[in-house]
Amino acid sequence: MLPAHLHPCLALQKRQILLALNNLSSLELNDERSDDPPESANQVAYQQLQDLITGTVCRGEGNSCLLIGPRGSGKTSLVSRCVAELVEQPIVLRLSGWVQTTDRLALREIAVQLNEQTGNVYLALTENGQEDEEPNPFLDAPPTNVPFGQPSAAHLPTLISLLPTLPRPTIVILDAFDLFSLHPRQSLLYCLLDTVQNCGAGPKNKGVAVIGVTTRMDSINLLEKRVKSRFSGRMIRTASPAELSDWTRLARTILCAVPTPPADSGIKHHLPSWRELWHPTVDKFCADEAVLAMLNDTFCITKDVRMLSKVLTHLVVHLSPQVPLLTASQLAAAVAKQRARPLYPFLQDLPYPCICLLVAAYHWDTAGHPNFTFEMLYESFRHQVRASSSAPVQVNGGSIGMMRCSRMALENLISAHIFDAIAAPNSSIAKEFVKYRCTLERDDIRKATDKCGQTNVKKWLSKAQ
């Protein structure tokens, strides 16, 4: 379909779009700046955050704030952008509530990162401290499962209060801030915020900023009183694009990303003709009613830009010289795959015994027994075979009377989490009497049997009505 000389152009375009999709945040920025409609939430947030950070870095202030916004609204990228744009690089400590699940882990991580960025060894200090501590038999029983080299909690205030005395200003970024507040006594947060509050703008001391990043709107209510009183209370909100037009604009810019050809290749000559071909299709694609409707659907479900990026990635990756142009049907496929995923996409591909077991489960459900054992399913299958007095499956003339692989089929279903065991596995219950529950809806089973195309099975299912 596509002339052969344009194939490399398509490949280039694909590559460029994918690259653009991968760093969405920078692109978003350009887009918004160029148009400058009423300032978006992220724009405001960026301004505030930058003010705050420059305050810390240049004037040595102690600052603390919370960055709140839904998932995928660009919180993390906002912070890293602000930090990256600074003239003088501060010390950046990144902690994540997902990884540093205890204060001790966090403390050690702080020490390691300080070590990396300043060159001074802080870990040694804490490790020595621990060695001193260990022989003391009168301490409370130390936690047994603490890995080697974790500093004790006693060093927390020491290390944290060190922060303002460092040669450069420090920025502490706490990802998943709400998880830190779940630590016992919130001692890390207390120490950090206390240090920030007491951080006098002296000539010796440099500034410290604590930036909490979270999606939880009530994060501030999670803080204890003594911690909350030390927190500045500044909250900066980010938001995803508020209107559909933002999305479409974004999609358009991404799709029209300008490929940069490698210098030595002969592709350059073809590029203008490619552009003539490509840009109208993008225009057409973006103006298509069906496309807009689908984007609108997606937008109404989630405003997360990452979803858009996933959908577009799927769309672009599937472009090929045979199908070089964007169409609405492709977008529909992408949306079905990435956004509105069917719960059990593989259901109609299940082998025949599995479907039989599902139908048997359906029958038992109709009879008022949502929980069943394997023996029950097998019994009803046997009954059905006897009742219909015909072999249940006809394969190219040859018939298979009884299915004997059904135990394997059951195990397949269990491993696919379609059948869930109700009770915990117990050695006193034989395998065939373990009770299961079917996680599928009745409608799903009906669709699956319709698609599998075995008339006998379909008849059997319809008996349950």
């Binding site: 990884v99 990635t313 029950m376 004997r404 395998k431 009497f433």
Partner: protein, 658 residues
């Protein structure tokens, strides 16, 4: 697959989830091979380092960290060096650091590795190339070196594949979120690919803590794909066996190996094995038939391949046997001719021998004709089904099954390969092998062929039904355990009675005992009550009752077991003369049985049965109050068999019979 290739090569999203419920292992291997091939190609935006960690074998976080970091660094753990993991060798201070103590350590390890790969001077790259060279023993050192040099100037991208990712949820649930956010945490160019049989919805952590992945679903393979895959496999086996005949014995089941290794052809070469090139066409037909049979039952290519490997040698056995006979005849004929040419010296005989062989090429195994193929497939179709039934649930292993079901070298089986007239056969051979076109039909060969046609009657070859093994005989459903059925028949008589009593006690509700076994009342009353109760239960509202037999055994106290056992023994075991002879001793009817069941032997037998797990003791042995509780451990079919053996009308004694 193409999708993944493009993505990884250009700009992957940080987290990809590949879901494949049906043919997991195949696609996992495909993904890993694909990634390796991408890593070797030059058409990437970054230098790729890939690693595949297995969620099953990496069952602790440390194992996972070590596995990922070591193989990203192309580092092999050596026993001599104290199994040390990869570390920054240039820096002694940091070499003492361990990357595997926590997730922080892991993240730092990744960063350090990234840094070292990017900034490593050429010498380090060279060293790595040398390392690889040593390890693999291939002469690719130069190429690797240049690649490494090139890598230094480029970006480095890590690709971390986690197979069986569903298992991570059980072994290390805390790690799931950080792993999915790994790119964000390490701030590196990094892709995490989860490969799983389980849906993402089933393993995703709560509260949306990890970002949604980019989904790739792998559809289940079509029948045609499986067939083509099997044929490819045939090709690979063919190559290995032709290079080194019988070097790879695992591919051939035992029975066949023996047969093929022993006899040799005229020229002293081994006879062609089942994976001979000229059988390829037959094999493709065979696979399509096999897939027709198996495809509704399983979509996993590996399973079908397993069955194919077990069945194929037996399938071609008649063809090979026919070929062997032909060779045999050829040899005797040559011997005769050698006898006739007695005057000439032996050298001449040898030459003649070779010449003759070149001339009519009877050493070559000819591809079987269309008719043979049809006959073969008709013969073996029933055995394909039985192969599926036994091999798919792994009731037998492939080698043993193939040995049992291989068609023996039957003299009748030669008829298979001789359905055509000699002329036709020659034509068929000429069609398939261009070399034989030049071959004139010499009177000699004609004679041989004709004579063989004459002396072989065209009896239809009846397929041998697969030999029934001892366990397969009893085997009526796959729910039954092979060992229990084997063991039951050798139990003493009393144990069998105890088992039947236990089965009754486990399946009947305890309230029904008096009706089932009650004596002193007339039979009519018992019957009437029972029918009335069943009718009542049917008219009552609520869901219908499920037979207890299907729900599994219920626990019962020892006393009840003993009581039922007594009733059983009284009705079925005690013979008339005992009853008569003991009448003087025991005046009360049933007193003899009473004595029987209170013997120590009964209790020891019960203990014995529960120790071999035919009765399950449900109450802990240290509990003293109350009678010990038991549960029946045998299935309905077993109990029915036992009852038949002992002449007990089991179905009459069950509350809800079949």
């Amino acid at each position: 697959m193409d999708e993944l290739a493009t993505l990884v090569a250009i700009a992957p999203p940080p987290f990809i989830f590949i879901h494949d419920p049906n043919s997991f292992q195949t696609s996992a291997n495909a993904v890993i091979n694909l990634l390796d091939s991408i890593a070797c190609s030059n058409d990437n935006t970054a230098h790729l380092r890939t690693v595949a960690a297995n969620g099953i074998s990496c069952f602790t976080p440390r194992l996972l960290y070590d596995r990922i970091i070591n193989s990203l660094a192309n580092w092999t753990v050596k026993w001599e060096e104290g199994c040390s993991n990869w570390s920054l060798s240039s820096d002694p201070a940091s070499s003492t650091r361990r990357w595997n103590d926590s997730f922080d350590g892991f993240v730092h390890g990744l960063r350090a590795l990234h840094h070292s790969i990017r900034t490593s001077p050429a010498q380090q790259a060279r060293k790595k190339g040398d390392d690889k060279n040593k390890r693999k023993g291939k002469g690719k050192g130069k190429q690797k070196e240049t690649e490494e040099d090139r890598a230094v100037n480029q970006q480095v991208r890590f690709v971390i594949v986690v197979e069986h990712a569903g298992h991570l949820r059980e072994t290390m649930p805390d790690l799931l979120v950080p792993l999915t956010r790994l790119a964000e945490l390490t701030q590196l160019d990094l892709v995490v690919i989860f490969l799983s049989q389980v849906r993402w919805e089933d393993m995703k952590p709560s509260s949306g803590a990890s970002p949604d992945p980019y989904f790739i679903d792998i559809p289940s393979p079509k029948k045609e794909e499986i067939v083509s895959q099997l044929e490819e496999h045939f090709g690979s086996i063919m190559r290995t066996t032709s290079d080194f005949p019988h070097a790879d014995p695992s591919t051939l089941p035992k029975a066949n190996r023996k047969k093929n290794a022993a006899p040799t052809g005229v020229s002293g070469q081994p006879l062609p094995g089942p994976y001979h090139p000229s059988l390829r066409q037959l094999y493709s037909h065979f696979t399509s038939i096999l897939c027709d049979v198996c495809y509704p039952f399983t979509h996993d290519p590996r399973e079908i391949q397993y069955i194919a490997a077990a069945r194929w040698p037996g399938f071609v056995q008649p063809v090979l046997a026919g070929h062997a006979q032909r060779i045999e005849r050829l040899r005797t004929r040559l011997a005769k001719r050698a006898g006739a040419d007695h005057e000439t010296n032996y050298m001449d005989v040898d030459e003649d021998y070779d010449e003759d062989e070149d001339e009519d090429e009877s050493e070559e195994l000819r591809p079987p004709t269309e008719d043979t193929r049809l006959r073969l497939s008709r013969l073996f179709k029933p055995t394909l089904t039985s192969a599926l039934e036994e091999l798919y649930p792994r009731l037998a292993n492939a080698a043993a099954w193939a040995q049992l079901n291989s068609a023996p070298p039957d003299p009748d089986s030669i008829t298979l390969s001789r359905p055509t007239s000699p002329l036709k056969m020659g034509a068929a051979a000429a069609l398939s092998d261009t070399n034989t076109v030049q071959m004139p039909v010499t009177p000699r060969t004609n004679r041989v062929l004709r004579s063989s046609v004459q002396n072989t009657p065209h009896t239809p070859y009846t397929p041998r039904t697969p030999r029934v093994t001892s366990y397969a005989h009893n085997y009526s459903g796959d729910t039954k355990d092979v060992t229990t059925t084997m063991g039951l028949s050798i139990l003493p008589r009393l144990s069998k009675f105890i088992l039947i009593a236990a089965f009754i006690a486990s399946t009947n509700p305890s309230k029904s005992d008096i009706r089932m076994f009650g004596r002193g009342l007339d039979e009519k009353k018992r019957k009437r009550r029972r029918t009335a109760s069943t009718i009542g239960s049917k008219t009552g509202s609520g869901p219908s009752k499920v037979p207890q037999r299907l729900l599994g055994p219920t626990p019962f106290p020892l006393d009840r077991l003993i009581a039922i056992l007594g009733a059983l023994l009284e009705e079925n075991d005690i013979s008339e003369e005992i009853r008569l002879s003991t009448d003087e001793l025991f005046n009360v009817p049933g007193e003899y049985t009473d004595m029987e069941i209170s013997r120590v032997g009964v209790y020891t037998t019960i203990g014995e049965l529960s120790s071999i797990w035919l009765l399950h003791r449900t109450s802990p042995p240290e509990r003293l109050e109350g009678p010990p509780m038991f549960k029946c451990g045998i299935s309905y079919d077993d109990a029915l068999g036992l009852a038949k053996e002992l002449d007990v009308p089991l179905n009459d004694l069950l509350w809800d019979p079949l």
